[in-house]
């Protein structure tokens, strides 16, 4: 579970405060509501729908594994886990709204795994009812505990090594994971407890009576904060923290060795927000980028090339990431990846934000 890091918060606050000269408020920034509507309906909603679909598939594959453990069913569960990570990581460029306020982010994606409590439950004879699973702490369920059970340390798991109790536990937590992913997707599209779907609040930014986004610019700021926040998180959190400490335990997706794909999908999340499209879901709308291109084609080109450069640089880190952070020979690639993401972040903050939020 993550929030805007301090460095990004300082940078955002600063760039916004410096825009406080009164006459600047009257100059038009982004004034096309279609961009926020399409961000909502063509990017966020389909990303979460894809997440729900793929987490459902993960649960189905976990059940198949539990019913007939074999290297084939284990490999299928591993593939399903990796497939489900794609829409999740591609949603991290917009970590606001129900994913946060309803606690779905920690429920889905808490790490590091709490082995003490996991082992205690596995060693007990407690019935793994939905109520018991609901009571457990997030660090012993969700994506990463499922990852640990399916992949083992550094992908060493074999079907024969899975105990019946582990398989029972795995299906219990993938069932909850699926319930949470579906609740997250539904929170954007359907009314919860008499409240309007979150989709209506964001897409209706600036409409009378909208208490969440009373102005279009508040919603646009939300988009920008999300893009900047995940760049900061990848460069200065996900890469920097384990690398600075040379500690593989701090690596996200360390069991599946999927970290580099995770980070790339985080940057694709930024790309999806910018372009208003989700290629993996087959959706597309009027993106922020098209509005930028109409006003400053060179800036649009810089954002797009910055995105490509960042995704490429992350992909050049020698896998697996958990080994690279302890291997001096990988330092150049790690640094290059960090720099590429930071350069993109600087473009978003220093150039894109002043254009759209003035």
């Amino acid at each position: 579970m993550r929030s805007l890091s301090g460095a990004a918060a300082v940078a955002l606050a600063t760039s916004l405060v410096t825009a406080c000269v009164p006459e600047e408020h009257v100059l038009p920034g982004l004034d096309d509501p279609q961009i926020v509507i399409d961000f909502t309906d063509q990017v966020v909603v389909p990303t979460y729908a894809l997440l729900a679909e793929r987490v459902d598939a993960l649960h189905t594959s976990a059940e198949a594994l539990a019913q007939a453990p074999s290297d084939a069913t284990l490999a299928a569960a591993q593939r399903a886990w990796i497939a489900a990570r794609v829409p999740w990581e591609q949603s991290e460029g917009f970590l606001f709204g129900p994913v946060n306020s309803f606690g779905y982010d920690p429920a889905l994606d808490s790490w590091p795994v709490n082995h003490t409590d996991l082992d205690a439950v596995l060693a007990s004879d407690a019935a793994l009812t939905p109520e018991l699973i609901a009571n457990l702490q997030e660090n012993q369920k969700g994506f990463h505990t499922a990852e640990y059970l399916i992949f083992g340390i550094a992908r060493s798991k074999t079907a024969a090594a899975l105990t019946a109790r582990e398989l029972e536990y795995l299906t219990a937590i993938t069932a909850e994971l699926a319930a949470v992913a579906n609740a997250l997707a539904n929170s954007w599209t359907t009314s919860v407890d008499g409240n309007p779907p979150y989709r209506d609040l964001l897409a209706g930014a600036g409409e009378d009576g909208n208490t969440a986004y009373p102005s279009l610019s508040a919603a646009v700021q939300e988009l920008l904060d999300g893009m900047v926040g995940i760049c900061d998180e990848v460069a200065n959190g996900k890469i920097a923290d384990p690398w600075d400490e040379h500690d593989p335990d701090l690596v996200e997706s360390q069991f599946a060795l999927n970290s580099i794909a995770d980070f790339q999908d985080n940057l694709r999340s930024v790309e999806n927000v910018y372009t208003g499209a989700v290629p993996s879901a087959g959706t597309a709308g009027r993106g922020l980028g098209s509005w930028v291109a109409e006003r400053d084609a060179a800036l649009d080109a810089r954002v797009r090339s910055g995105l490509t450069a960042a995704i490429t640089a992350i992909g050049a880190i020698p896998p697996p990431f958990s080994i690279a952070i302890t291997d001096d020979a990988a330092d150049d690639e790690l640094e290059a990846a960090q720099l590429a993401v930071r350069a993109l972040q600087a473009t978003l903050e220093g150039e894109l934000q002043p254009l759209v939020l003035r």
Binding site: G6, P22, S101, G103, A107, N114, D117, S124, Q221, G229
Partner: protein
């Protein structure tokens, strides 16, 4: 990178000034103010911190997000054995409010229930009396292998009313049922009070308003006959073993942010500290962690107002004064001296006097807390109020989150605020809308 950006902010504050000047942005938090109307608006560090202070703030940010787990563990051990939630930010979502939710879902229990006995021996002088088996708070979660103290269920009863012009409205009154671990309902003799987590930005400024300034605002016997009293709560300061002015919490029952943070670690998460140790004097939370978490809440920036050019907002601001809201929701306070320069001698617009006021039977919880009576609550600061549902979609307002929007929150007021509430209720619709527009601009 950080130092240079801070200078820009300081340079900018000169172009902004106080309240009430047309075309000038009022700095709600003085030089700690930031401009952002997104869901991150409560989460920025004060832009005028020194480099060292910013580092400590960022350490505190990590502490505020740290998820505690059952002992023994290598990272953040100490949760429970019973608790309401496992991390500060699980309840204070994006440093703002928490939803009025309790139970076993992914949110944990942001809504918690304080309890006390009507007589007996208090834990600290003047404080509430613990209930045998429960203490001062119902912890409705437990680590694996332990049993929660109780289950808390929340339901609502609809309450209908009409504005002066005949327009109907509906409020919802919460009904809390508590079932103890043994299956019995909580005795009706136990005093109980449900609360949602309040926002945590700007608190350092409130801590630095001098005691004398609050005593000067207080009018315990309503000596000026305006129908508004206002009392200082006097509460136990654990580190100094003496009584101090209470400032934090819904009933101003904690004197400092350090003690407030320690109380939350102990009561909400079951994590002991030097201020709230185990019975044998040992504790789980390092003092540095507690200090940094408290520092984080001292130094979060205050978001600036918005929509100042909107004529409705301007009209609403005048109505806020005319109707009498400002008698308690005092617009401006001045902070005093403090070791954190960023907080010292700031002119702030919190819209609170930090005093206890009787706001009537309908909001009363029936539970006293030091000098706070069953009907008294501390005037809630209104700064950043317009962002409440941006930061936390569907956020509820008031101490138990019963109000679904700003109008409902006003309509629940009674007691000393009855006259202001009635004035609002009987305003023409357009003026009610203007007053609400002003509140949304905060």
């Amino acid at each position: 990178m950080r130092a240079s950006s801070l200078l820009l902010v300081l340079g900018c504050t000169a172009c902004l000034d106080g309240i009430g000047e047309p075309g000038v942005l009022p700095l709600a938090g003085g030089a700690t103010t930031v401009i952002d109307r997104s869901s991150n608006a409560y989460s920025f560090p004060a832009p005028n911190l020194s480099d060292e202070e910013l580092d400590l703030h960022l350490e505190g940010d990590v502490a505020f997000e740290a998820v505690f787990v059952s002992p023994p563990a290598t990272i953040n051990p100490g949760l429970g054995p019973v608790f309401n939630n496992s991390a500060c930010n699980r309840c204070h979502v994006r440093d703002g409010r928490g939803l009025p939710v309790a139970g076993q879902g992914p949110l944990g229990s942001p809504l918690l229930v304080r309890v006390s006995a009507s007589d007996g021996k208090a834990v600290v002088p003047g404080g509430p009396v613990p209930v045998p088996g429960l203490g001062l708070q119902v912890q409705d979660h437990a680590i694996f292998g332990a049993t929660p103290e109780a289950q808390v269920e929340l339901a609502y009863d609809e309450v209908s009313g009409r504005y002066g012009d005949g327009e109907p409205y509906t409020l919802r009154r919460p009904r809390i049922s508590i079932t103890l671990a043994n299956g019995e309902p909580l005795s009706a003799a136990v005093l109980s009070s449900a609360r949602i987590p309040p926002p945590v930005f700007g608190l350092g400024l409130l801590e630095v308003v001098p005691d004398d300034a609050l005593r000067e605002l207080a009018d315990p016997q309503d000596g000026d006959g305006d129908g508004i009293s206002g009392r200082v709560n006097e509460v136990w300061h654990r580190a100094e073993s003496t009584t101090r002015v209470g400032r934090f919490g819904w009933k101003a029952s904690e004197p400092t942010l350090l003690q407030q943070a320690a109380a939350a670690y102990a009561n909400d998460m079951g994590v002991t500290s030097s201020l709230f140790p185990e019975e044998d004097g040992s504790y789980e939370l390092a003092l540095e962690t507690l200090t940094s978490a408290a520092f984080y809440t001292q130094t979060l920036a205050v978001p600036a107002r918005t929509a100042l050019e909107d004529p409705d907002v301007q009209q609403g601001e005048a109505l806020f004064v005319d109707v009498g809201c400002v008698a308690c929701h005092v617009e401006t306070l001045e902070t005093g001296e403090h070791e954190i320069d960023a907080l010292a001698q700031q002119r702030i617009h919190a819209y609170s006097d930090l005093l206890l006021h009787d706001v009537g039977f309908d909001l009363a919880d029936g539970r006293t807390d030091y000098f706070a009576s069953a009907m008294e609550w501390r005037t809630a600061p209104l700064w950043g109020l317009g962002l409440a549902q941006t930061v936390l979609p569907y956020a509820g307002l008031l101490h138990d989150g019963r109000a679904r929007d700003l109008a409902e929150a006003i309509l629940w007021h009674g007691g000393e605020a009855e006259r202001a509430k009635e004035a609002f209720r009987t305003l023409p619709a357009s003026e009610r809308a203007a007053l609400l527009a002003f509140l949304r601009s905060l």
